[in-house]
């Protein structure tokens, strides 16, 4: 069969990505899917799936869901506010570009560097903590704040959740046309009525979709949480890490089951995000 020149070029372009996806996404996923239903000897079993229902695993899922949901909701709200502020001609183009560039960088700033940055600023002896205490007499830790807790983790996650929200929601926010605001004003609506009756319903699918994406993003985060809290906060990712790194909790097949559970949760979030985004795009077209 003859293969067209364009077909060959397309294959050459897509090939490396397909190979990468095969080696580092599809094969590992298949491996964990199979491993989740096997014991250490390779014998088929439901024991790993049943292990997901043990109290410690359920607690880990509960904490992960709480941290992810709270950081997603707060990140979505703050990111949406930033995106709405950047919309239109009110903000100079140079500031808008600067915020978007910083968002691009910050949304990918995670893991050990982010944990260190927060420890150096909001840790017990962090710069901001010390300044607040010595200059303003505000003792963060005496008031109950602890960076190495669920609240501290949520606070740290917001560092990448908020800019990610800005990047994800910006196209939808820019899809809110100036003509709509003018038409609404022409019809007698106040800016608040326009926001409530038009902008909010129009953006709702995109905002919910983006928040789900943020949830999935936080749900899968491990390096930041581990670097910041060690194993003091019981997250699924940290529990999973404990199963496969080879210490006393070593049980790779339970780890596969945990990973499968995470795939299901994040997969559902992503499917919902894509459907909501498609709906929003169709409406804004």
């Amino acid at each position: 069969m003859l293969v067209s020149r364009a077909g060959v070029l397309t294959a050459m372009g897509v090939g490396p990505f397909a190979l990468f996806a095969l080696l580092f996404l599809l094969l590992p996923t298949s491996n964990l899917l199979i491993g989740a239903f096997q014991d250490g000897d390779g014998t088929p079993t439901w024991a790993n799936i049943a292990g997901l229902l043990t109290p410690s695993v359920i607690a880990a899922f509960r904490v992960s869901i709480i941290v992810s949901a709270v950081s997603a909701v707060l990140g979505a709200a703050a990111g949406l506010a930033v995106a709405l502020a950047l919309r239109g001609d009110a903000i100079p183009q140079v500031i808008r570009q600067a915020v978007l560039t910083v968002s691009g960088v910050a949304s990918n700033f995670a893991g050990v560097p982010l944990a260190f940055a927060f420890l150096a600023t909001l840790g017990r002896t962090g710069l901001v903590t010390v300044i607040l205490k010595s200059w303003f007499g505000v003792d963060l830790y005496a008031s109950g704040f602890n960076l190495l807790s669920i609240v501290g983790l949520v606070f740290t996650y917001l560092y990448f959740q908020m800019p990610l929200m800005v990047l994800v929601i910006m196209p939808a926010v820019e899809g809110v046309k100036r003509d709509w605001a003018e038409a609404a004003a022409m019809l007698g609506a106040s800016p608040a009525q326009f926001m409530l009756r038009i902008v909010a319903p129009v953006l709702a699918p995109s905002v919910i979709g983006a928040a789900l994406l943020l949830f999935a993003n936080a749900f899968g985060a491990v390096a930041t949480a581990y670097a910041l809290t060690g194993s003091s906060v019981n997250l699924v990712t940290i529990l999973l890490f404990a199963q496969i790194r080879g210490d006393v909790l070593h049980d790779p097949n339970l780890g596969y089951a945990l990973a499968l559970g995470m795939v299901v949760v994040t997969g559902l979030c992503n499917v919902a995000y894509l459907r909501l985004r498609a709906f929003s795009d169709r409406r804004l077209r």
């Binding site: 003509d179 709509w180 003018e182 609404a184 022409m186 019809l187 007698g188 106040s190 009756r197 804004l284």
Partner: protein
């Protein structure tokens, strides 16, 4: 006092002046078009009337009320946008009802009004559809219904037909005009399409580079253009620079040819004045009343359906165009043929030699006809 008075509007965006000394008076029920090329300031004028742009100078008065400092939502103006600007989260009925809802009108009254509007635009069956489920023409009808549902004092139309294909444009423009006439609303229509402006309007305001070039009825603007810009933008015109033969006389000279104008030409003897002659006013044979004649050589011919357009070169090297229609169009001279162009004195229309003089004169309402 006129229903709408726009006086001395000026708009500057930093060093760029978009609109200069724009004045207009419109009567109740009148349909006025602002006609000009892109960037001439026509949309800026409309946006100042709407309240979207704050004038650098000048006033807008509607029905005796000075609205210059009022926010848009307090002006009771309806507007139809080029992009339709329908709210995508609302159905057709929801869009039409929007202005009535924010005004706090009762549910039953809204339902009655929406039904009435749907009947007006002939979309009774599509009230439950969303904008994305409608064609461009249907969306623009809904936008029109939404704008007039609130019973506005003025209806502003910002190139509402530009995004539609040619056939729908023609049918929809008639609908727009019919609805405007039926409701008796004063309408200001912005367009760059001269045919649209001439076909729809009681009066046309021709604009260029922020200035009003001429205001008048479609016939006045077409038949007696005041400036070279109006002559060439509204239709096609041959602009001839002629020398005045006698003070306050009608006789001028183009090269060696003596021409007679339709009206006396003011100016000093020997002064150059520009004249416009429409291509369709020129004949290749002498016809009744055609006392002016110019020698020319045919450059090429173009078949345009109802007419054949000849591009000719006049003596002195000035290009001109001649439209031949009717039976004469079947047998036009070939390229290279020497011809004589004949036209009547009244077809030789004197143009203002000082553009700004014409602009100043044209800044007020020039036409006399009402709705």
């Amino acid at each position: 006092m006129s229903f709408l008075t726009v006086h001395g509007l000026r708009k500057a965006f930093g060093p760029v002046v978009a609109v200069q000394d724009f004045s207009l008076e419109a009567e109740r029920g009148e349909f006025i078009s602002l006609l000009g090329p892109s960037g001439c300031g026509k949309t800026t004028v409309l946006r100042m009337i709407a309240g979207f742009e704050r004038p650098t100078a000048g006033r807008v008065v509607i029905d005796g009320e000075d609205v210059t400092d009022l926010p848009t939502r307090a002006r009771r103006i309806g507007m139809v946008f080029q992009s339709y600007a329908l709210f995508p989260n609302l159905t057709v009925e929801g869009n039409i009802a929007f202005g009535l809802k924010v005004a706090g009108i009762g549910r039953e009254a809204i339902a009655t009004r929406v039904k009435e509007m749907l009947g007006l635009i002939g979309l009774q069956q599509l009230g439950g559809r969303y904008p994305m489920e409608l064609s461009g023409g249907q969306q623009q009808r809904v936008a029109l219904a939404r704008a007039v549902a609130i019973r506005p004092r003025i209806l502003l139309l910002d190139e509402p037909l530009s995004a539609l294909d040619a056939k729908i444009r023609v049918s929809l423009r008639e609908e727009v005009r019919g609805i405007q006439r039926e409701l008796g609303i004063t309408a200001i229509f912005v367009t760059h399409d001269q045919e649209e402006a001439l076909a729809l309007s009681h009066r046309v305001v021709v604009m260029s580079e922020g200035w009003v070039e001429q205001t008048g009825t479609p016939a006045e603007v077409y038949r007696t253009p005041r400036t070279p810009f109006v002559a060439t933008f509204v239709g096609t015109a041959n602009v001839l620079p002629c020398r005045i033969e006698a003070a306050a006389g009608k006789v001028v000279r183009y090269g060696a040819a003596r021409l007679t104008a339709g009206q006396a030409v003011t100016g000093a003897v020997g002064e150059i004045v520009q004249f416009a002659v429409r291509p369709e006013a020129i004949g290749l044979q002498r016809f009744e009343g055609a006392s002016n004649s110019l020698a020319a050589v045919v450059q090429d011919t173009r078949f345009l359906g109802p007419v054949v357009r000849l591009r000719v070169m006049l003596e002195g090297g000035l290009p001109a165009v001649v439209d031949v229609h009717g039976e004469g169009a079947r047998d036009v001279p070939a390229a290279g043929a020497a011809v004589h162009l004949w036209f009547r004195p009244e077809s030789l229309q004197v143009l203002d030699r000082h553009g700004h003089g014409a602009r100043a004169a044209g800044s007020g309402p020039g036409g006399s006809s009402g709705p």
